[in-house]
């Protein structure tokens, strides 16, 4: 099996290329480097294509605490998804990232390496490493533009990502200690302590955009360059959900309330993203909210997959949804970049671009005969047996939410400012039709891949005309009414509850700052105060202080403190060490 060597080359190769960027000569070609970095990944994906049943393993016992990679049907699907999105992003980086390209390429490659590492991880440490490498390096992509807006987004992104890392790290260490193994396959079967599982869940939830932890998404997406936003939405946020599947013991959790909670959380996320999304005015922010809403589908999906008799099969269906969303959403993000450059395009290309945007929006809204409809219908059929609590009306509302968001997105797009060349206006866009064609290829794949999937899996597909079209009609009606009546919806700042967080932070920071000032003041003035407070009792104490003040900068009080601390510590330590024994033995060696 020649594919085996590729397991490690896959993610080491981008790292090597990142190191190569240290050479000035290589820096000029950083754009093509990004595409080259993906070659081992595609090779492995292609080699594994024909293997049935696909179950490849490789172990590196000498690496860290011993690493293990595996490639099965599930990770193959995720590898494909990851590669597709990263490739689109790599191609578009050439035209849509203007400044500081070498630095951008370094962060891009590091993040890519992490992303490819966790996809194939068979042990917890590899997963954690890949996950962290991906999220931490993505900070460099988020703050790339260096504008105040990007810096603020980068700061929030980094804060939340690092908190997530740490919580996840605690969870991983604790789970490893609890189960005595690092193999993810074992982790999925062994029961665990509640708070450990909660740590794992929470660490990943920040990435998955669960409401209240989602605040980084609407900030980071509009601030990042277009291709980076595509990767953020296409791959990174999904790492949260697949992480839950890999790290949490689904087979054990069936007995608990976890799956039910996930079902409801999923529904809540779908609607939350929609409600705050329609109030946005920036197309990329709106897309970020749409991603939150779509993550709701995946969260909901994981809820019922855990309850299934054969969860692996359910997980494959969920992966199909993830692929659908990854392709469509990254296409939509890139379309914002193309539309910003439309003034430089010939007429036919401009029309075609708008057509592409429309197709993508329809696919996401799940119009019948699109991949969106196919995968959503299939999910509902699969879930029918288990997820009876959240179905029917809930999911219909979810579909309506998606349709509304897409309609609103198109409305907002029309007012997109294309005259002022802002951050992500491509400088050479339209000049490179091949990249534009690759975007179209992405659209075609996003629409058509399910036809091939139907054949491969041998499943039927009946377009759901009624349940597929009604949300669409209702959404169009609502938006038309809104538009017609010139209703001004309430506008909400990107990151909604973020405003409260920042307010809370200032509320906390002020007393902290004041406390610091007071402490500083006290430090300066305590000997004087001591004199006035305690008068003559403290006289001897302050005397040496005044004397030392005369002696100049060689402050004596410090030495008094030091010696005092030493004596006190000797006494405390000796007392604690001695306490088990009789004190009268102190005189032992005298007698």
């Amino acid at each position: 099996m020649s594919g085996m060597h590729l397991f490690s080359t896959l993610w080491i190769w981008p790292l090597l290329l990142a190191a190569l960027l240290a050479l000035p000569a290589v820096r000029k070609g950083s754009g093509s480097l990004l595409v080259i970095a993906l070659l081992p990944g595609w090779s492995l994906w292609g080699l594994a294509w024909t293997a049935t049943p696909l179950d490849w393993h490789q172990a590196w016992s000498f690496w860290l605490l011993g690493a293990h990679w595996r490639l099965d049907a599930l990770s193959h699907a995720w590898l494909g998804l990851t590669l597709a999105v990263w490739t689109l992003a790599a191609l578009h980086s050439e035209v849509m990232v203007a400044c500081n390209r070498a630095r951008y390429a370094v962060f891009f490659l590091l993040s890519l390496s992490g992303s490819l590492l966790w996809v194939l991880a068979g042990d917890a440490v590899s997963f954690y490493l890949g996950f962290s490498l991906m999220s931490i390096s993505a900070w460099g992509l988020v703050m790339h533009e260096g504008t105040p807006k990007a810096l603020r987004a980068g700061r929030w992104y980094l804060v939340l990502a690092l908190i997530g890392e740490l919580v996840l790290f605690v969870g991983v260490v604790a789970r490893a200690a609890e189960t005595g193994t690092l193999r993810l396959a074992d982790w999925q079967a062994l029961p665990g302590t509640d708070w450990v599982l909660l740590c794992l869940w929470l660490g990943l939830a920040i990435k998955a955009g669960v409401p209240l932890l989602h605040v980084w998404l609407p900030l980071a997406h509009p601030a990042a360059p277009v291709p980076a936003s595509a990767v953020l939405s296409g791959v990174m946020i999904k790492a949260g959900v697949i992480g839950w599947w890999l790290l949490l013991p689904g087979q054990v959790l069936v007995e608990t309330h976890w799956p039910q909670a996930m079902l409801w959380l999923g529904l809540l996320t779908m609607l939350y993203g929609a409600v705050f999304g329609v109030m946005q005015t920036d197309p990329k922010t709106l897309l970020a909210y749409s991603s939150i809403s779509q993550m709701g589908w995946l969260i909901w999906g994981l809820g019922w997959v855990w309850q299934m008799g054969a969860p692996e099969v359910g997980m494959l269906w969920l992966s199909a949804f993830a692929l659908h969303h990854a392709l469509v959403k990254s296409g939509l993000f890139l379309s914002v970049g193309w539309l910003k450059a439309q003034s430089q395009m010939p007429g036919w290309q401009r029309t075609a671009t708008w057509l592409g945007v429309g197709l993508l929006a329809l696919a996401l809204a799940g119009v019948p005969l699109s991949s969106g409809d196919w995968v959503k219908t299939a999910l509902k059929v699969q879930a029918a047996g288990v997820a009876h609590q959240v179905s029917g009306v809930g999911l219909w509302l979810g579909a309506l939410a998606t349709a509304l968001l897409m309609g609103r997105f198109l409305m907002v797009l029309r007012t997109l400012d294309t005259l002022r060349p802002v951050q992500d206006a491509p400088d050479r866009a339209g000049l490179n039709p091949w990249v534009w064609l690759s975007w179209w290829l992405g659209i075609a794949t996003a629409w058509g891949w399910f036809v091939w999937q139907i054949q491969a899996w041998g499943v039927g597909y009946a377009p759901s005309w009624l349940s597929g079209l009604t949300p669409l009609f209702v959404a169009v009606l609502l938006l038309w009414v809104w538009h017609r009546l010139r209703l001004r919806g309430p506008a909400v700042a990107p990151g909604d509850v973020l405003v409260w967080y920042e307010w809370l932070w200032h509320l906390l920071a002020r007393p902290l700052h004041q406390g610091h000032l007071r402490w500083h003041h006290w430090q300066q003035s305590w000997p004087r105060r001591l004199q006035t407070w305690y008068g003559r009792v403290a006289c001897w104490f302050s005397r040496w202080h005044t004397r030392s003040a005369k002696a100049g900068r060689n402050a004596q009080s410090e030495w008094a403190w030091l010696m005092g601390a030493m004596m006190a510590l000797v006494l405390i330590l000796a007392w604690l060490l001695m306490s088990p024994f009789a004190l009268d033995r102190l005189t032992f060696w005298v007698g």
Binding site: R547, S548, A551, Q556, W559
Partner: protein
Amino acid sequence: MNEVVYLYGALGVVLIGFYGLARAGHVLQQLLAVNVMGAGVFMLLLALATRHTPADAVPQALVLTGIVVAISTLALGLALIRRLAVEARQAEKRSDQEALHD
């Protein structure tokens, strides 16, 4: 009985050294305080040696070694103090000259 006096006396000397370091107002005093501390420890070792008849030779060897070490550290400390004084004088001279120029 004598032993007790010496042993506790030695600990007392160490404590006096401690106190001296805490209260000293001059770098020379500080250095001497540390030496007082050292003297206390050596006194303790010698008092321990006298508990045997004939007196234990090992503590004496330790004290001799210790004295050599203490002298060299004292020398280093004195050299540093001297440099402090020289540098302080230079700084004073420099500020005087600046005052003249102004």
